[in-house]
């Protein structure tokens, strides 16, 4: 089947198998490996991307379901060499260690702020509940998201 999408602003059309997951499309067809796979069961959120501005676990969606959509991955977040404020906040606040959850966590967090620009700490925790991290204990991630929210205010 044909799928036509805009990935990080670049339009493209690919012939894909109907059962191809969006995450495999992004990693193996488009070649953007920043989006990670952590669990295969939609539990960990490492594969979170934006589809038409909404955060989506890209292992829960078929590539063909994204037909006509605008997809943003972690690689598309920075603009003109400048880190996105959320990326900068994660870096500044040591919101990562091994970094495997980071792309998904950053994408989920930017989506959270798009819906709720000034979340409380509790709202950040609730908003990121679907994204697992095994290294940090989350506190620096929460700090980073709150800092990014403050910076965007």
């Amino acid at each position: 089947m044909k799928v036509s999408v805009a990935v990080n602003g670049a339009a493209r059309t690919d012939e894909v198998e109907p059962r191809l997951l969006l995450v495999h499309y992004l990693r193996d067809v488009v070649g953007l490996t920043g989006t990670n796979i952590g669990c295969d069961t939609s539990s960990c959120g490492a594969c979170t991307v934006h589809v038409d501005g909404e955060s989506v676990k890209s292992c829960t969606m078929l590539a063909v379901q994204a037909d006509g959509a605008e997809i943003t991955t972690i690689e598309g977040l920075a603009s003109g060499g400048e880190l996105h404020p959320m990326q900068e906040a994660f870096r500044q606040h040591h919101g990562l260690q091994c970094g495997y959850c980071t792309p998904g966590m950053v994408m989920a967090a930017t989506s959270l702020l798009a819906e709720n620009p000034s979340p409380t700490e509790a709202e950040v925790r609730e908003g990121l509940e679907g994204n697992l991290c095994r290294c940090t204990g989350y506190h620096n991630i929460v700090k980073a998201v709150l800092a990014a929210a403050g910076a965007g205010r």
């Binding site: 539990s43 040591h94 990562l96 091994c98 970094g99 509940e129």
Partner: protein
């Protein structure tokens, strides 16, 4: 000039006054690439023409294999190789401590998930399908799943090397000493998974020289290399390992998982081979934390001083040895806790069973016994009518004290201080949430049967373990420093797994050269072994090696400059990346100072020697220890059995803080894993079958489950012999946090709760019903 020299940490002066780089919260050098999605994890790698590998695993925990027919798999279009045990050219066995695990099971499969065959194909789906087409004829055997039965001499061995992997007897002091107060208990710890986020993956590329380059996420490149080379029948220098981006480790990457298989496939096909585990395969394909059964008897005098500890410790090692012998040594050596135990009778065993193999996980044997001895300390306090913190202070180890292994405690041991600082920290204000719908209620779903039946409890625990390798192991780290064309490059094979060693290496090199223009080369086997990223050892060992190599290279640089200027090195120093003389006459760049020559210094850094335990479990087996105290506050829903861990407070013995934000990161992350073991995490194994090999069924803490962490104190008492005085900080947060949470749940529920993880049914089915007597 190139030299290799040996440096021992005993020669290093402790705790120098540090520069502008050490002690600061420098940002990780890999932070930028990681937030941009540009950091290449092992799963991201690709090579032109690469094939996909897939391993076929035994569905049975115990079965004889009477036939393997690979013909249908081989005939599938796109399949390039199907390998079984007969295809292993070298040693058919591998293992960290004893080579007891087959590369492929051939006559018998000993655990669910054991590798039987491997496939390489031109597409991952073809590889998967081919693996399914391999016809293995199994004759299932009654699995040996009870470690007590494994220990029984009448039980037939499930492995040619026998069921008992190791037994340790500790006989310390007077075996018949007795105290006024006696408490006994039996405790259990379930099987925890490291659950790193990035499943196992790697890329093997065959070389024209008959060797192979393996890009792999691991904790120890050289020990992988040696095992792979042995199985491949290649000289070690033909097996070149390169560290690929590691998505967390926590002990699970210390053993070989796919390394041998993927190299075999690459050499057989002559093509690069990539393999990536699914999460299910990751659960089945790496070792876990040893489940433990422990029975304890503490005797104390009326003042609460421990007189004697008797303990029996049984660890289930699963099908193969992995690092079981060293895990057991830790369990035995630290069985008494960080207390003065004048008399001890301890018998510890680790056995093989048909359960999943167990090995290294953060805390490594010290976690299991801490759960038991700290529950015992609370029991003892109750029996004495004494405050549990006071009891711990009264027994706290002090420098000079003898451990129950007879070893004198020579290093920094601020045990009483970590206890006191942790206990003195303020408690969180208020009590359990009383608003219906509050996500901070136990269970995190905003629901409770009866808000008045939510109880708050507080628990306290202290733990300790060894830093670095023990029992006479030749533990060293190699580092190289090269100065060429004015550029300083540091080489180390130490595995960065997320903990932040890469930051520290930069900080250390900058401290020596006074410039941040330092290149840290990618980790590979082109330099000597750095040892494992485990046992909280890399800050000390590879930090020490990098420091020593950089200092040696700097000294050579000064010698070179002095000769060129016809003076002596003593009047020169390296300052802000320049070579300058004290009188200011000489002031030149490093490049000018070398005069076109290249300097290269390689150092093997060793800690002070350790010694084996004797037949009575006595000996100077360890080089250094780290201590931590934890206080947990929990809310427990007595009806639903759900637990909310509200806060964990800690004070930790760190020696010296080299990067504050990284130390705190290790502590918070370690506590998350300790909380997980206390109330959430267990691999459920039923008759040898793993029942929850996924993140939908094996739950780890989320951002909502994670308690507040209050760091009451980072106790900085520099460790003699440690470079910079710094102790490793990764493991202590995971040792006593579990015990503290369990104690808090006991306090809230009034239940004995001797097993972790504590599951809802342990509380809900045991607590008195609403309206019944009791609190």
């Amino acid at each position: 000039m190139t030299t290799v020299s040996a440096v021992s940490s005993t020669a290093v002066a402790p705790a120098r006054v540090r520069s502008a780089s050490l002690g600061t919260s420098r940002k990780r050098p890999d932070g930028g690439p990681k937030v941009k999605g540009e950091f290449a994890f092992s799963s991201d790698l690709w090579a032109e023409g690469a094939l996909w590998g897939k391993v076929l695993r035994s569905p049975h925990p115990a079965a004889r294999i009477t036939g393997i027919d690979t013909s249908r798999a081989r005939n599938l279009p796109g399949v390039k190789a199907v390998l079984v045990a007969d295809d292993v050219p070298g040693n058919p066995f591998f293992g960290l401590e004893m080579k007891d695990q087959p590369v492929f099971a051939s006559d018998v499969a000993r655990y669910m998930g054991e590798a039987v065959a491997a496939v390489a194909a031109d597409h991952p789906e073809v590889a998967r399908k081919a693996a399914e087409l391999i016809e293995v004829t199994y004759e299932p055997i009654d699995p040996l799943v009870d470690p007590e039965r494994a220990l029984d001499p009448v039980t037939p061995p499930m492995h040619p090397m026998g069921n008992t992997v190791r037994h340790i007897s500790v006989r310390h002091g007077d075996a018949v000493a007795s105290g006024d107060v006696v408490v006994e208990g039996t405790y259990e710890v379930g099987m925890q998974d490291q659950a790193f986020m990035g499943p196992e993956s790697g890329l093997a590329i065959p070389d024209e020289d008959g060797g192979v380059d393996l890009f792999i996420s691991t904790q120890w490149l050289h020990v992988d290399r040696d095992q792979v080379a042995d199985c491949l029948a290649l000289p070690p220098d033909k097996v070149r390992l390169h560290l690929a981006g590691v998505g967390g480790a926590f002990g699970a990457r210390e053993d070989v998982s796919l390394q041998v298989h993927i190299c075999l496939l690459a050499l057989r096909t002559g093509r690069p081979v990539k393999m990536v585990f699914s999460r299910e395969e990751s659960f089945l394909g790496h070792v876990h934390r040893h489940p433990a059964r422990m029975s304890y008897r503490h005797e104390a005098d009326r003042d609460g001083r421990i007189v004697k500890i008797e303990a029996k410790i049984l660890l289930d090692g699963g099908a193969y040895a992995s690092s079981s012998t060293a895990v057991l040594a830790n369990a035995a050596c630290f069985a008494g806790g960080p207390y003065l135990v004048p008399n001890a009778v301890i018998d510890a065993d680790v056995v093989r069973t048909n359960n999943p193999p167990c090995g290294a996980m953060r805390g490594f044997g010290a976690v299991q016994v801490c759960h038991a001895y700290e529950a015992q300390m609370d029991k003892l306090a109750a029996a004495l009518g004494m405050d549990p913190v006071e009891l711990r202070l009264r027994n706290a180890l002090q420098p000079g004290d003898e451990l129950l292994t007879g070893q004198a405690l020579t290093g920094a041991a601020p045990v009483a201080e970590v206890i006191r600082r942790c206990a003195e920290a303020p408690l969180p204000p208020g009590g359990p949430a009383d608003e219906p719908g509050s996500m901070t209620l136990p269970g995190g779903a905003g629901r409770t049967a009866d808000p008045t039946r939510v109880r708050r409890g507080i628990g306290f625990a202290v733990g300790f373990k060894n830093l670095m390798y023990s029992e006479g192991f030749d533990d060293y780290s190699t580092a190289r420093c090269r100065i060429e064309h004015g550029i300083v490059t540091v080489f180390s094979a130490a595995a960065e797994v997320g903990q932040g060693l890469v930051t520290l290496v930069e900080q250390i090199a900058e401290d020596v050269f006074g410039t941040d223009k330092i290149i840290v080369a990618p980790a590979d086997t082109g330099v000597g072994s750095a040892g494992s990223t485990s046992a909280s050892r890399q800050t000390w060992m590879s930090g020490g090696a990098v420091d020593a190599a950089c200092r040696k290279a700097r000294d050579s640089l000064l010698d070179l400059a002095a000769r060129r200027h016809g003076t002596v090195a003593a009047v020169l120093e390296v300052r802000e990346g320049r070579v300058v003389s004290f009188d200011g006459e000489i002031d030149e760049t490093i490049e000018e100072a070398t005069g076109g020559a290249a300097i290269e210094e390689t150092v093997e850094f060793r800690h002070a020697p350790t010694f084996p335990l004797d037949e009575r479990g006595q000996g100077d087996a360890h080089v250094s220890f780290a201590f931590a105290a934890h206080r947990a506050v929990v809310d427990v829903d007595l009806d639903l059995g759900l637990v909310k861990v509200v806060e964990v407070t800690t004070a930790q013995d760190v020696g010296r803080v080299l990067n504050p934000v990284q130390v705190v990161g290790q502590i918070e992350g370690g506590i998350a894993q300790g909380v997980g073991l206390a109330v959430m995490e267990e691999i459920l194994v039923d008759q040898g079958l793993v029942r929850n090999a996924s993140f939908t069924d094996y739950l780890i803490p989320t951002a909502l489950d994670m308690p507040l962490v209050q760091i009451a104190a980072l106790v900085e008492e520099p460790e003699p012999g440690a470079p910079f005085g710094a102790k490793g900080v990764g493991e202590p947060p995971t040792i006593s946090s579990t015990a503290a949470v369990a104690a808090a749940v006991r306090a809230a529920s009034g239940l004995a709760l001797t097993r972790v993880p504590i599951r809802p049914e342990h509380i809900a089915l045991a607590a008195p019903r609403q309206g019944e007597a009791g609190s």
